[in-house]
């Protein structure tokens, strides 16, 4: 979609949401604690912007750090699966179990075991993001053309060169597909981790707003979280546009 058309589509969406929101409040006669007006939420967003920015930065930091860890782990494991095939037989079942255990239940165990510090929150983000990254990286690294690998072998290329010049370029489209889901998922995971036991972060604010019946604050935090997730999504799209520019047809 062209940028101007995309901008208009998103603007239309947000205006529709605001109109529907006001309609629901007026038609349903909902009290502010259940559904605050857009104006009161805007008020919270502007008057408590410093506080919201601080908690958003905490959540973003946890999400980014956990996501970086998940990437590093997924890349190391994917390469080990490619270069040392027995590793896949040994570690594959671990990855499958990690993927299928409900992360919310594991989150409780991690928080009880490790306490209120950064480690369990990072681990929860890693748990959520790691598997899609690993699965797609393995698939992408295996998508490298055998004939290109033969070309590299004839040239006596080292493993590092083969990775940089053939394996990684082949894996990029697959990696980006996982990145789009996992990167936005990292923010969700960080917020969920903060729900359980935290004194800062958007998850903590959500719990506080719920306990205090502060609908306006709850909606404001959700707006910030949604903005962060959308930012992550659009950064993925920009990266995709740049890294996969070679796929565009001739104009």
């Amino acid at each position: 979609m062209k940028p101007r058309r995309a901008f208009l589509a998103y603007a239309g969406f947000f205006i529709s949401v605001l109109v529907a929101w006001e309609l629901v409040i007026h038609v349903g006669h909902l009290p502010p604690v259940v559904m605050p007006s857009p104006a009161s939420v805007w008020d919270v967003l502007t008057t408590r912007s410093g506080e919201l920015a601080y908690h958003a930065a905490v959540t973003a930091g946890e999400a980014l750090a956990g996501y970086a860890l998940a990437n590093a782990l997924a890349l190391v494991l994917a390469l080990s699966f490619i270069w040392l095939p027995p590793m896949e037989a040994v570690l594959g079942p671990w990855a499958v179990v990690i993927k299928n255990v409900p992360f919310v239940s594991v989150a409780s165990i991690l928080l009880i075991t490790l306490g209120d510090n950064l480690a369990p929150k990072l681990l929860i983000v890693v748990l959520v993001c790691f598997f899609p990254l690993l699965a797609n990286l393995v698939k992408g690294l295996r998508a490298a053309e055998p004939v290109l690998l033969d070309r590299m072998r004839v040239l006596s290329a080292g493993r590092g060169q083969i990775f940089r010049k053939v394996l990684w370029p082949a894996a990029v489209p697959y990696y980006l597909a996982a990145h789009e889901t996992a990167f936005t998922g990292s923010i969700v995971a960080a917020i969920v981790a903060e729900w359980f036991f935290a004194r800062k972060g958007l998850g903590y604010l959500i719990v506080q707003a719920t306990v205090d019946y502060r609908g306006d604050l709850l909606y404001a935090v959700n707006a910030v979280a949604a903005a962060m997730a959308l930012g992550a999504y659009f950064s993925c799209k920009l990266a995709e546009r740049w890294l996969l520019r070679w796929q565009r047809p001739l104009t």
Partner: protein, 237 residues
């Protein structure tokens, strides 16, 4: 399963030798052994008296496969440069000049999917020879192309190799292509492949047109040798 049997072949510096035979006779396997991509259970491959592994380490070999070995996310020029990024550029051709020489001056910044099959093969061959390997191995590089494109690319390759003086071994199943390009042709029997005949092509360079009586007579001579090799040398085509 035995693929090749008692294969012995000397190729002189600057010579163009084609390996001709029916499908499945082991031509590509022999080429892969020459490139060091597969290990023969017995025997040696020497390139200027060096074992193939050492020659490969010194970047003395270039291979163009039937399927173009191009990185899809690199332009034509970047794909040619990729060879030099690995081998170093000492004594190499200048990639941009080489591609211009190959008639691809207007397509330097095109990605492989934006090029025709014939253009992709020219880039493929440029990638294989840009570092000036002493031995160029071509595995049916024109196999997937139409007849006219094959002919024009063959004529072009002859000109390029005459200029560079590189030694070349070509795998083909086309008798006409073998006559048009080669100094000598090794004719293989069906599997297990053996060299049943080694024929000198008695035509001047540049080769006459394919409708020339001399060309037709060489094609006929080679075709007879191929039939004899397939009928008498193996288990059948």
């Amino acid at each position: 399963m035995v693929v090749l049997e008692r294969v012995s072949l000397d190729v002189a510096t600057g010579e163009f030798v084609s390996l001709l035979g029916p499908s499945g006779c082991g031509k590509t396997t022999l080429l892969r052994i020459l490139a060091g991509l597969e290990q023969a259970p017995g025997g040696d491959v020497l390139i200027d008296n060096l074992p193939v592994g050492e020659a490969r380490g010194k970047h003395e070999i270039g291979v163009a496969f039937q399927r173009a070995a191009l990185v899809p996310s690199r332009t034509a020029l970047e794909n040619v440069r990729l060879t030099l990024e690995i081998c170093g550029s000492v004594d190499a051709f200048e990639p941009e000049a080489l591609l211009r020489e190959f008639g691809l001056g207007a397509f330097l910044s095109h990605y492989p999917h934006q090029l025709s099959g014939g253009m992709q093969q020219r880039v493929n061959i440029a990638c294989a020879m840009v570092h000036r390997p002493r031995l160029l191995l071509l595995d049916e590089p024109f196999g997937a192309l139409d007849e006219l494109t094959r002919e024009s690319l063959g004529a072009w390759l002859s000109r390029v190799l005459a200029d560079t003086g590189q030694t070349c071994v070509l795998v083909t199943h086309s008798v006409e292509e073998a006559v048009a390009l080669s100094d000598r042709v090794a004719v293989f029997s069906a599997r297990p492949g053996r060299i049943q005949a080694l024929l000198q092509i008695d035509l001047p360079r540049p080769r006459p047109s394919r409708v020339d009586p001399g060309f037709a007579s060489e094609v006929e001579r080679l075709r007879r040798a191929l039939y004899a090799a397939v009928d008498g040398g193996g288990t059948g085509a």
